[in-house]
């Protein structure tokens, strides 16, 4: 019998798991994919929002501001990439300037610090490439950018080091209420637990509906993105939003923590919870709208495009809800929803974890773990390391001098670390998200066969068993 089972190893589930790992609790995370960070958490803007956007009093507002404040310290504690680069909300029409004032007032009500409306001249000083039509902006100095993979993996790894169990390839197919808890069925086995945390992203409605009569409906809202070469990563230094529309925060242009430029997302509501394909129209729309914010982004510097799904809550117990649902389910005690985690879900994660852990503490009254390990060291990037650090690593293991991904200068040593860490990578996508091998401008054209070979060798499997991201995502055929 587990104390807590968390369903979903995205950023919210991992954050909850990490907070729970501070306590003497037997905790299990069930994930249907082959790795952590395989859903919404891997395909989003990577933004740490200021928190000016959500309605005051909502969970979105509260957890965003709190999550934002915690992010810097957490990034040091768990060693992931984060930068407070500042955000701006651009206004393209003098007549809409009042909307900036409204946003500012809302932000201040939410407790966001340092908000300021800047005119075009200051805007140009801060962002020389800003579009000609931008007349003013709300400047959000607390806005930041984060590596969403880095954050999620760091949380999960730290949880695992502190005793949380993770099981992958376990898709939950049914949940039954028992006298003192729940019986969770997956495709292959059953687990008993006192408390359930439903952090299943776009599938959180299905999981919720297994135990509650107050039905929930999540409509995936697809967002398409374009990622640009590092050569143009400095075309924006702040994260540049446009005044929000009904479908969300609009198209943004932002540098990433790794120095690329990212534009997107679109917003299309989908019936398909797995519909992550990009479209001609969507990508064209991203290009067109991004050009309003930053002019002259060269199209031929695109290195990849992708789409992610926001877990947009459309209905809950017959009502429209424009907020996260993070609460114990009314007709299912001990079952806690972490649902509707669309934007700013990533920014909130550090606060969400604590918020949920507090709820569970009140149910289970656990003791604090005495030997909790609060820090975690990530994989040191040879590309970013100093000369001394590089020499030291190579001395430790010559594999750190064998460059496997030439675009991002990722060495065999880093890839070996990614495989052999807690919750180590078992797929090429897993390697990519942990080391950046394959994330550069050639998009793994060069390193793919080499990474496949290393994975096969280290996992003692044939290369035909090496997958991109589990399931049927093989690269080469078995030998005849």
């Amino acid at each position: 019998m587990y104390d807590v089972i968390v369903i979903g190893a995205g950023v919210s589930g991992s954050a909850v798991a990490r907070e729970l790992s501070r306590y003497e609790l037997k905790t299990l995370v069930l994930e249907k994919a082959s790795d952590v960070c395989e859903g919404t958490s891997k395909a989003n803007s990577g933004i740490v929002h200021g928190g000016y956007d959500a309605e005051p009093g909502t969970l979105k507002a509260k957890l965003n501001v709190l999550g934002n404040k915690k992010m810097a310290a957490l990034s040091k504690e768990l060693d992931f990439s984060y930068k407070q680069n500042g955000s701006m909300v651009l206004c393209f029409d003098e007549k809409e300037r009042f909307k900036l004032e409204e946003l500012k007032a809302r932000g201040e009500a939410n407790g966001v610090e340092g908000l300021r409306i800047i005119d075009r001249q200051e805007l140009l000083e801060k962002e020389p490439n800003v579009g000609d039509e931008a007349v003013a902006a709300l400047y959000v100095p607390t806005g930041g950018i984060v590596c969403p993979f880095g954050l999620t993996i760091a949380l999960a790894e730290n949880a695992a080091v502190n005793g949380v169990e993770f099981r992958f390839g376990e898709k939950v197919t049914g949940i039954q209420k028992k006298e003192s808890g729940y019986l969770i069925q997956t495709e292959s086995q059953e687990f008993e637990t006192k408390v359930v945390v439903n952090a299943a992203g776009v599938y959180a409605d299905q999981i919720h509906n297994m135990v509650s009569e107050n039905k929930m409906e999540i409509t995936p809202r697809k967002g398409e993105y374009l990622l640009y070469d590092k050569k143009v990563g400095n075309m924006a230094s702040n994260t540049l939003f446009q005044l929000p529309t009904i479908l969300g925060k609009g198209i943004l242009v932002t540098p990433t923590v790794h120095g690329n430029l990212l534009t997107g997302p679109t917003a299309t509501d989908l019936p398909d919870k797995d519909g992550k394909e990009t479209s001609q129209d969507g990508l064209a729309q991203v290009t067109e709208k991004a050009a309003l914010s930053v002019k002259g982004i060269p199209g031929r510097q695109v290195i990849t495009s992708f789409a992610g799904l926001r877990a947009h809550l459309t209905k809950f117990a017959g009502h429209n809800v424009d907020d996260f649902v993070i609460e114990e389910v009314e007709d299912a005690p001990g079952f806690i929803d972490v649902a509707g985690m669309e934007s700013p879900g990533l920014s909130c994660a550090p606060a969400t974890g604590e918020y949920v852990a507090d709820m569970i503490k009140k149910i289970l009254h656990p003791e604090e773990k005495k030997d909790f390990i609060s820090t975690r060291k990530g994989i040191m990037s040879m590309a970013l390391a100093t000369e001394e650090e590089r020499h030291a690593k190579i001395k430790e293991n010559p594999a750190y001098s064998n460059v496997i991904c030439r675009c991002e200068t990722v060495t065999e040593g880093e890839i070996l670390e990614a495989i052999h860490r807690p919750l180590g990578a078992t797929t090429t996508d897993g390697i990519k998200r942990r080391t950046r091998a394959g994330m550069g401008r050639c998009q793994s054209g060069f390193c793919n066969p080499r990474v496949v070979e290393i994975l096969a060798r280290e996992l003692s499997i044939d290369a035909s068993q090496v997958k991109k991201s589990g399931g049927d995502s093989w690269y080469i055929l078995p030998e005849e």
Binding site: E277, V403, R441
Partner: protein, 468 residues
């Protein structure tokens, strides 16, 4: 460490530059190569068609490489293999930072540096092909490495996007290895490959070439399950209503090459937007003191023979610089970029009497008329080879087969091979069966006979590369 000249890259450009510098008297020089052997991309280009200018004969990629490797070995020009250069700085001296397992990270000072890093392929992302992101999308070169170096197949049912020579050659290669190549789609109204390659890589195997078509959607969540191809208009925009779903598990992309200039840019070399390579003067000197450039890193070449020629010059200029000191930089000279191949086969060609010669890249349209007495009137050819080709093609067509054979106990898994001469076209299948069944023991040297009398043709299958 200190040396006179460092050459970054041990492919055709690097080896030719090193040899030319050596001939000029620079004997203290070093080639840095990231792979485990010299030869560069030639090692995986196991097909023939190389060396007609340089060696006046048709060689496979590995054979072309081996000729240069032998010359490099003969002159005892040193090289460091499995060595990745991570930084280059110009000046006097130039400083190159590199990494390998034996020496860790180290710096070498040199009087001059020749950049010969080659190029890379355009990726799916760079082309913005919409759809899902499953496994099974490879650049043609990545697939070529899997098939020809690793001896592994990256898929069963294949669509190729891009009809440059690499795309055409991989369509044939995958077919010979047992895959079904559904079609080759080309967005332009003409092929970017040579006529001879359309004939011997596509027509020979009945693979359709869809001109003015492109892939507009990738399907499949985990592995590729198919692609949508659409016809494009004269502005290369997909025409709505022309979509066609093609089931496949693999999409190969052969959509252009990009000079690989991370190091050049790191050194601060001024770049030329047009060539995507560094700006150079008449002496192939970049704008950074002491750094020269040649081969595909300078601009993408059509033929390896031209790479070798340009690289020889770069080697000589670098040697002059080392021996005689700096000259006035002079003015920018943009290298002559070969005109893009724009090739279509005549549509109204009568397959019974007209054929495209595959003897050389020209691809003459030859008309053969059969006289009543059985003799043939052959017209349209521009050389004697054409006449001979037409005669044999009309009576008993023949081809050279290139492939790989498995090797046991060697430093690699497979060795590239070819039929020592042409074999009847009808025997290609049987020949491939025998090649696939064969296993040889290391070491293997280029020229070694690995199968005698293949498919009863009295022609041998010989190794075209070395394997220790």
């Amino acid at each position: 460490m200190r040396t006179d000249l460092i050459i970054i890259g041990g492919g055709p450009a690097g080896m030719a530059a090193a040899l030319a510098a050596y001939e000029k008297g620079i004997t203290d020089l070093l080639i840095l190569e990231r792979d485990k052997e010299l030869g560069g991309i030639l090692n995986q280009c196991i097909h023939n068609g190389f060396g007609l200018h340089t060696f006046k004969e048709e060689l496979t990629g590995p054979e072309y490489a081996v000729r240069y490797m032998d010359m490099v070995a003969e002159k005892k020009i040193p090289s460091l293999l499995n060595t990745m250069v991570v930084d280059v700085q110009g000046g006097s001296p130039c400083v190159v930072t590199a990494m390998n397992r034996e020496q860790g990270m180290f710096k070498i000072e040199a009087k001059a540096v020749v950049l010969a890093m080659g190029c890379r392929e355009r990726s799916r992302g760079a082309m913005n092909i919409p759809g899902t992101r499953p496994a099974g999308i490879y650049s043609a070169g990545t697939a070529q490495r899997y098939v020809n170096i690793e001896g592994r197949m990256p898929g069963r049912e294949v669509v190729v996007l891009g009809s440059g020579d690499i795309g055409l050659i991989m369509a044939r290669r995958m077919t010979l290895q047992g895959a079904k190549v559904k079609l080759v789609a080309e967005i332009m109204p003409y092929s970017g490959g040579l006529k001879r390659n359309i004939v011997q890589c596509l027509d020979d195997f009945g693979i359709p070439l869809k001109l003015s078509h492109t892939v507009t959607q990738v399907h499949g969540k985990e592995r590729v399950e198919g692609v949508t191809i659409s016809k494009v208009d004269e502005k290369l925009r997909p025409i709505p209503g022309t979509e066609e779903f093609v089931a496949c598990d693999t999409l190969l992309l052969s959509c252009g090459l990009i000079p690989e200039n991370e190091l050049s840019q790191g050194a601060g070399a001024q770049m030329d937007d047009m060539t995507a390579g560094p700006v150079v003067n008449a002496r192939l000197e970049t704008t950074v003191k002491g750094i020269f450039a040649c081969g595909n890193v300078l601009h993408v070449h059509d033929l390896v023979d031209n790479v070798s020629k340009e690289a020889e010059k770069a080697g000589e200029f670098a040697a002059d610089y080392i021996l005689n000191g700096e000259e006035d930089w002079g003015e920018v000279v943009r290298p002559k970029i070969p005109e893009k191949t724009k090739c279509t086969l005549p549509e109204d060609r009568d397959a019974g009497s007209q054929l495209i010669c595959i003897g050389c890249p020209v691809g003459c349209l030859i008309t053969v008329k059969k006289n009543e007495d059985g003799s043939l009137d052959i017209t349209g050819n521009t050389c004697k080879k054409g006449e001979a080709y037409a005669r044999s093609e009309m009576t008993a067509p023949v081809r050279t087969v290139t492939s790989i054979i498995r090797v046991e106990g060697g430093s690699g898994k497979v060795v590239p091979v070819k039929t020592a001469g042409e074999i009847p076209k009808g025997k290609i299948g049987q020949c491939m069966d025998e090649i696939e069944a064969a296993v040889v023991s290391a070491p293997v040297k280029a020229g070694d006979v690995l199968i005698e009398n293949v498919a009863g043709t009295s022609v041998s299958v010989i190794a075209t590369g070395n394997l220790l």
